[in-house]
């Protein structure tokens, strides 16, 4: 599957995790990658950008991934953007909360490029 030309926004408060996620996405063939350091910065970037996919951490200061997801789904221009939530917790209640808020896929850390691609393929964006 060719991902060239697909625009992805990576949101995580950890600069290293952003690098790791971007490295995984590059391995899968994505080339147009933008990053933001928390949900608030992610929302601002998303509003400026025409993104096909958002990959966001859950636990972040300022605006959590869940708050960010809800804001994206409440925005008429952004609500159709595919959204993958990255988290260190596999708690069922949290997954349900994210699903109810409109997340497309949910991936638990640690993960690699192959596991990330499975989630991306499942979205069919």
């Amino acid at each position: 599957m060719g991902y060239e030309g697909k625009k992805v926004l990576v949101v995580d408060d950890s600069a290293v995790m952003r690098q790791i996620i971007k490295k995984n996405l590059k391995e899968l063939g994505f080339t147009d990658l933008t990053e933001a350091e928390d949900g608030a910065a992610g929302l601002k970037a998303a509003g400026e950008g025409g993104f096909d996919l958002i990959v966001s951490d859950w636990n972040m200061p300022n605006m959590t991934g869940l708050e960010f997801l809800k804001a994206v789904r409440a925005d008429g221009a952004l609500k159709g953007v595919a959204f993958i939530m990255v988290t260190s917790e596999a708690d069922k209640e949290k997954i349900m909360e994210a699903v109810q808020a409109g997340v497309n896929q949910y991936i638990v850390k640690p993960f690699n490029a192959v596991q990330l691609e499975e989630k991306i393929k499942a979205i069919k964006f």
Binding site: A90, V108, K109, P110
Partner: protein, 172 residues
Amino acid sequence: MATINFNDGTMPSVLTDVSRDSIISIFNTIFGSEPKFDEEDNAEGLGEGVVGIISFMGDVNYIIMLALPKNSAIAMASKFCGFDIDYDSPDMGDVVGELANVLAGDIVARMSKEDFKVTMSLPTIMRGNDVEPVLPRGLPLEKLHFTMEEGNFMLKVAGAKSGDQIGRKPGT
């Protein structure tokens, strides 16, 4: 639902068992080899190194401190990221924080299976020589030592009182 309050000053085995099992499982997944748990509590300190601290709140309040000596931190960071990280850079703190975060996420899931509902804080990072937070008196502390290809490391598990928190709450 179970609760723990540390009234007798001892560390419940469920906390150390869950922490040990999480370390073995998560580090095996990340680094591709299983860390060996060292039953003996050698008195050696951390020396120069990095500590990632996370608080748990809920049916039991406690803290974990993932302590990586400098050389272990450098080797683990390189393996975790797939690229080298300068020990003195802010990125090293990010990596150790992320390792602690992933470990804590697994601990939350395992505690839930043991019927303890806890939530975790965001990680706080300390770096230096034999660094550790000042903990309240009278609460239990256990040190779990591990060895693996990337180097030795330690996990400290400490009881906390309701309201005590060292790591940041998510969203703050």
